[in-house]
Symmetry: C2
Subunit: 370 residues, 2 copies
């Protein structure tokens, strides 16, 4: 496949620790319910999975936020549960209930029956990737993504969302052997899934460890981090001559930032409990390595407040990260602006405009490039 | 008031950094739905508030876990929302819904109308404290408690529980002046409430900052920590000649442990994302001060797994804290065993037995006092 050359590569450069003229920004769940045009497309698609499983609809909604805002990256519109669905667990969306699996993984036999699914069952996702990449026509890079092995396991064992993760944690504490087997299958499936997304046109990949932060110290390292690393170890470093940056986001991962610095990835995504300056000191540059770029970390609730609060808090996040790296001859600590979690459906779209403009303008001022 | 002399003071000694023969243990929400006898009393009381507002019922359920297990402290059975209820917000419990306020605090006028309630409206709580203290007859100390100013504010503004805290966070970002006024009232109310609990017989007090961890870095310090400190500054240090230890528990507080070390309290409660050995290195002893004792931090989900897992993970928590302080001539780092959050209603009661016995036996072995 050949695609149009990239016009705005600011995001990819920042991922790789290269100096940029300003701080790039994109938003987790940027194609979402806060946009009326998204809701309109979803209504036409009939359902969430109707939207996510149709490459034309997925392309349409992926591009919607880019038509409104000067965002520096697009992210594949898809669901986090496509992989377990392809494993045969039977994904359903019930009105007002969130995703459910018809056949959750609870018993030894359930775990034994799991296998890496045939990637052809996920062809609709890869087709969406290619379709979106073409539609982007090189404007900004396209990020592919997957849930982490642990995060997928939470949904697979609980059978849906959870407040206390009691089924998955109970299985982990009671039968760690079964949990390790489940996570190994998930890791190999996620690696195959992300590799196919890269082949289909994804220019960076992100692993969402949305539920890593619910684990106890010690368990996080063994049951989440180790399997995220297993995924990373299996991914191609380059495709068609281009380096494919890897981003790992762990919600609630603040206690383990130093340990996450050892992951074979380029960027660590952090939530709003993290002080970016302190995180930069911890993981921004390590002896013998260029360190990690940092992605984040505005509290999505700021976007609900007021335009003034959005501008003020966006500046606070940029200033917390501190003086940007500007030396074009070497790699150094870089920041990709994002929220600390997905954007809220209650966000007024005009607040996002203020956010994007503030981040671009203030980060240029910080570099003296305004 | 005079009460029976204390027989088992292990918990109070550990709070104050004094060496003990073993690691004391109590469990957040230890009087709760996992106990069939609690459910029976609650059924007789007719409702949760019927239970919490009647000193006889509150005494009965507070003592139930102590009749089963060799716990080293009792904690007042009450609700976290008694103070805002006394402010006139109208607390209701709906079946399967959790607590709700009939009149949530949303507008400038709502905030302006708030005031520290007359403590006579909370007499039923203080009566329960005195009744429980008498019924304990000196077996173990009684802990009084309150929600933190921020945690109470979350409920008061949201009107109940929340997934995203969007109303309270939006108010905080949009109108920080209103939020500061609300929190100042809460802090003064909580200080008066805990002071009255101490006068009524509470031998230690605990501030539950259950929702501090949802705040962004920077906001936590200004909108939660500062008001917890305001509470602590107003509490009596001693009562009837005895030192009253203060415990501050922040769920999700791992990113701010070093800052919490500056609180005027004796014990920091931590959740299961914290490595107790690392926390001890950070806050267990500070230049010029004895440091903080640590309370925690077993994941409550461990209690759902199996007796073997409970024993194994309890030992892991004790070993993570490390070698206990055993010098009777000085204060040093001490550990109070607890969960990292309230006990789950799905806990098999016999697993709690295994936990308490394991903590007592293994911590004696660690001291060579077995």
């Amino acid at each position: 496949m050949s695609f149009a050359p990239l016009i705005n590569d600011t995001f990819l450069r920042a991922c790789l620790g290269q100096a940029t003229d300003y701080t790039p920004i994109w938003l987790m769940r940027q194609a979402g319910r806060y946009l009326p045009e998204y809701c309109a497309t979803r209504a036409r698609a009939g359902s969430f999975m109707g939207l996510a499983s149709n490459p034309d609809f997925a392309t349409e909604v992926t591009l919607q936020p880019l038509q409104r805002y000067a965002l520096d990256a697009a992210i594949l519109f898809s669901d986090i549960l496509t992989v377990p669905d392809a494993m045969g667990l039977g994904l359903r969306f019930e009105a007002g209930e969130g995703p459910k699996f018809e056949r959750p993984v609870r018993s030894e036999a359930d775990v034994a029956a799991l296998a890496v699914p045939d990637m052809e069952r996920l062809r609709y996702v890869f087709d969406a990737v290619t379709s979106i990449r073409r539609a982007l026509a090189g404007r900004v890079p396209l990020i592919g993504f997957s849930g982490s092995p642990w995060t997928l396991a939470c949904y697979m064992v609980e059978g849906g969302g959870s407040d206390d993760y009691r089924h998955v944690k109970s299985l982990m504490y009671r039968r760690p052997d079964l949990m390790h087997r489940l996570l190994a299958v998930n890791a190999d499936a996620v690696a195959a899934y992300l590799t196919e997304q890269i082949r289909a046109g994804a220019q960076a990949v992100m692993v969402f460890d949305s539920w890593g932060g619910v684990l106890a110290d010690g368990m996080f390292q063994r049951f989440s981090l180790a399997y995220t690393q297993r995924v990373l170890a299996k991914l191609p470093r380059t495709h068609d001559g281009a380096t494919i940056p890897r981003i790992v986001f762990t919600k609630g991962g603040a206690p383990w930032l130093a340990e996450m610095a050892a992951l074979d990835c380029d960027v660590l995504g952090v939530d709003w409990t993290v002080h970016l300056g302190r995180a930069r000191a911890l993981v921004g540059g390590l002896p013998g390595g260029p360190g990690k770029a940092l992605q984040g970390n505005l509290d999505p609730a700021v976007l609900l407040a007021s335009p003034e609060a959005v501008a003020e808090q966006a500046v606070a996040v940029l200033e917390a990260f501190g003086a940007p790296h500007t030396d074009p001859t070497r790699r150094g600590p870089t920041h990709i602006f994002n929220l600390g979690h997905g954007i809220s459906q209650h966000t007024p779209p005009e607040h996002v405009q203020v956010l994007v403009e503030t981040v671009h303008a203030h980060s240029r001022r910080m570099r003296g490039t305004a």
